[in-house]
């Protein structure tokens, strides 16, 4: 019963049977995709899905906790590169990729933990976190960009400078290697777990305190909650979620380049979250999927206007739909249904 209440709690869009009916139908459709789409198309859909954990992490951090980060791609990149190094050195070992995945997530959490300690325990002002995370991202890109050459080699793996790291092993559990349809299912299940876990988290006691911190940090602190620790923990959690996306990305494409932690990539999670509506997890989930599809379609046509379009989208949403497009639409729908009833 407790589980049920957490899952349908009030801190996200959709609580009634109508929402859950549509949701289950959607999930069922996704699970049935291999029956009517080719392996290539399922592979593309895996790509639209795999960014969702990173977006959910930013949604928790920005929408629920009131801390904005421009540097989620840094943790995405750290997890991806560390996975590449560990798994690339353990080729042939049946559990190498699993160890690599855990290592990648641990590295992302560690860096976020150290960085977050300085930022949150100093109680800096609101605007400093996004700035410093952006700087961290830019530095990481610069660092990775100059790792071309033979001296930048960890065991058998070359970091590769701007050409990136290639030949990263796919995910594997014992004898089972994940690619094609099995990789699609792996991504789909992982994303579902991330979403439902986030949803439970925001409806649990911890989530309520996060909302209180967002609304009034001082008052929350006066009520006896250690806001520094909670902000720090949310920051690390968001980094781990970004790390999951990073892992899925390198397991999907088997390569990663420093561009993945560059300025344009850093802008993307912020846009997914802002366009969907930062205060609702489900809105962010839908927006991330839709915008990834849009971005992939634009980019695959070699569209040089991609950055301008993305920038303009950001400005338009922030000026006209400050709460996000999907949240605005959902509110409008609910009002109409209420009036009809």
């Amino acid at each position: 019963m407790g589980f049920f209440r957490l899952i349908t709690g009030e801190e996200d869009i959709g609580r009634g049977p109508f929402f859950w009916g549509v949701f289950l139908l959607l999930v069922a459709t996704f699970f049935a995709i291999p029956a009517f789409l080719t392996e290539f198309e399922a592979y593309n859909i895996s790509f639209y899905l795999l960014n969702i954990p990173m977006a959910l992490g930013l949604c928790l951090l920005w929408g629920y906790c009131g801390v904005l980060s421009f540097g989620q791609v840094a943790y995405f990149g750290i997890a991806g590169y560390v996975y590449g190094i560990i798994a690339g050195n353990m080729v042939g070992h049946p559990f190498g990729p699993l160890i690599g995945s855990l290592g990648g997530l641990a590295a992302a959490a560690l860096i976020a933990g150290i960085f977050g300690y300085f930022v949150f325990y100093a109680r800096v002002q609101n605007w400093i976190v996004p700035i410093l995370t952006l700087v961290l991202t830019l530095l990481l890109e610069t660092f990775l960009g100059q790792t071309a050459g033979y001296q930048w080699r960890v065991g058998a793996v070359q970091l590769g400078g701007y050409n990136g790291m290639t030949g990263i092993p796919s995910f594997q559990l014992g004898p089972m290697v994940f690619f094609g349809f099995s990789f699609f299912y792996y991504v789909l299940i992982l994303v579902l777990i991330c979403y439902l876990a986030c949803r439970m988290l925001v409806n649990a006691r911890f989530g309520k305190v996060l909302l209180a911190i967002r609304e009034d940090p001082l008052r929350t602190e006066m009520l006896g909650y250690d806001i520094r620790f909670r902000q720090w923990l949310t920051f690390v959690l968001a980094a781990v979620l970004a790390g999951i996306s990073g892992l899925l990305y390198v397991q999907w494409g088997n390569y990663i380049t420093p561009t993945q932690v560059g300025l344009l990539q850093a802008a993307l999670p912020v846009i997914w979250v802002a366009v969907g509506g930062r205060e609702k997890l489900f809105a962010v989930l839908v927006a991330t999927y839709a915008l990834n599809w849009l971005n992939y379609t634009l980019a695959s046509q070699g569209n040089q206007y991609a950055l301008v379009i993305i920038g303009a989208l950001l400005v338009i949403v922030m000026v006209f739909f400050p709460r996000g497009i999907i949240v605005t639409v959902a509110d409008w729908l609910r009002q109409r249904r209420r009036q009809a009833a």
């Binding site: 920005w62 300085f118 002002q125 920038g311």
Partner: protein, 297 residues
């Protein structure tokens, strides 16, 4: 003689680093201090300044005129941005951050589409001279002098003019200033325009020292924002000056021995440590000390 040359060289390095940080951050810190808005399009405004200066220079304008022109053109552009977009985000810090980031993406990519990936460089004005084994660029020394002059001019503007008085009143308590008849909307527009103009001017001044391309703004993002974070927003001039001098103290030796990239990494680490000790930046710490000594006397 050699010791004199070495000391001069170290001082020169220190001065150029501080001048670079100061020029890169000045427009940003003016806007932040007054309006509590972080302008993430700052690097792109510097890029626009560099483009304006380069184009003017190619039309035959002398370099100083090109710099003045960039100040004016980018300042006007800033006023336009403030009226159209930024105005809607007063009091919403994070919203302002995101929207100015969107503007910066449009500006950088738009410049690339309109003007192409490269602009011919401006030659560095002035020559260089040698002292012992070290050589010094006259232009960078001029930049150090110019940054000092700009700080003096800002101090004069804030402390000796009617507009400056109104601006400080608005900064301290906007509602009260409005009640006393200060047109705070106009003050905000002027401030944003001034900040943008300073960014454009800095971009023009830096133009001869770097390659001019649409994404050149990115290279200023890290140093400028670190300087602002360390400086804080309590007192614009003290913050900019204090933090650029302090950070230069960190960057000069690291950059000298370990290279430019690690110099920037050292900046970030120094910033993390400094904000751990002084969360509101150097300017707040300085201001507290000033207030305390004023109270004692």
């Amino acid at each position: 003689m050699d010791e004199v040359a070495l000391i001069t060289s170290v001082l020169y390095q220190f001065g150029t680093n501080a001048a670079f940080l100061l020029l890169a951050a000045l427009g940003l810190i003016v806007i932040l201090g007054m309006m509590n808005i972080i302008n993430l399009a700052h690097g792109e405004l510097m890029m626009l300044g560099a483009y304006v200066a380069t184009m003017a220079f190619q039309q035959g304008a002398p370099f100083w005129l090109a710099v003045v022109l960039s100040f004016i053109v980018v300042g006007l552009f800033g006023a336009l941005l403030e009226r159209l977009i930024v105005r809607r985000f007063y009091g919403r810090e994070l919203g302002a951050l995101v929207v100015t980031w969107g503007i910066s993406l449009i500006l950088a990519q738009g410049t690339l589409l309109l003007l192409g990936p490269f602009m011919p460089a401006i030659p560095i004005p002035g020559g260089s001279f040698a002292l012992g084994p070290y050589s010094f660029s006259a232009y960078w020394i001029a930049l150090i002098v110019i940054s000092v002059l700009v700080i003096v001019a800002l101090w004069w503007l804030y402390n000796r003019t009617e507009i400056g008085l109104q601006a400080r009143a608005t900064m301290q308590n906007a509602a009260m200033a409005r009640a006393l008849g200060v047109d705070t909307g106009r003050i905000y527009m002027l401030t944003f325009s001034l900040g943008a103009g300073l960014a454009g001017m800095s971009g023009a001044l830096m133009a001869p020292t770097t390659s001019i391309q649409p994404f050149m703004g990115q290279q200023f993002v890290a140093p400028a924002f670190i300087t602002v974070v360390v400086g804080g927003a309590t007192n614009v001039i003290a913050g900019a000056l204090g933090s650029s001098l302090l950070l230069s103290l960190v960057k000069t030796p690291v950059g000298f021995w370990l290279g430019a990239f690690l110099g920037t990494v050292a900046l970030l680490l120094a910033a993390l440590v400094i904000i751990r000790l002084m969360p509101d930046g150097i300017s707040a710490a300085l201001q507290r000390r000033l207030d305390r000594s004023a109270g004692r006397s």
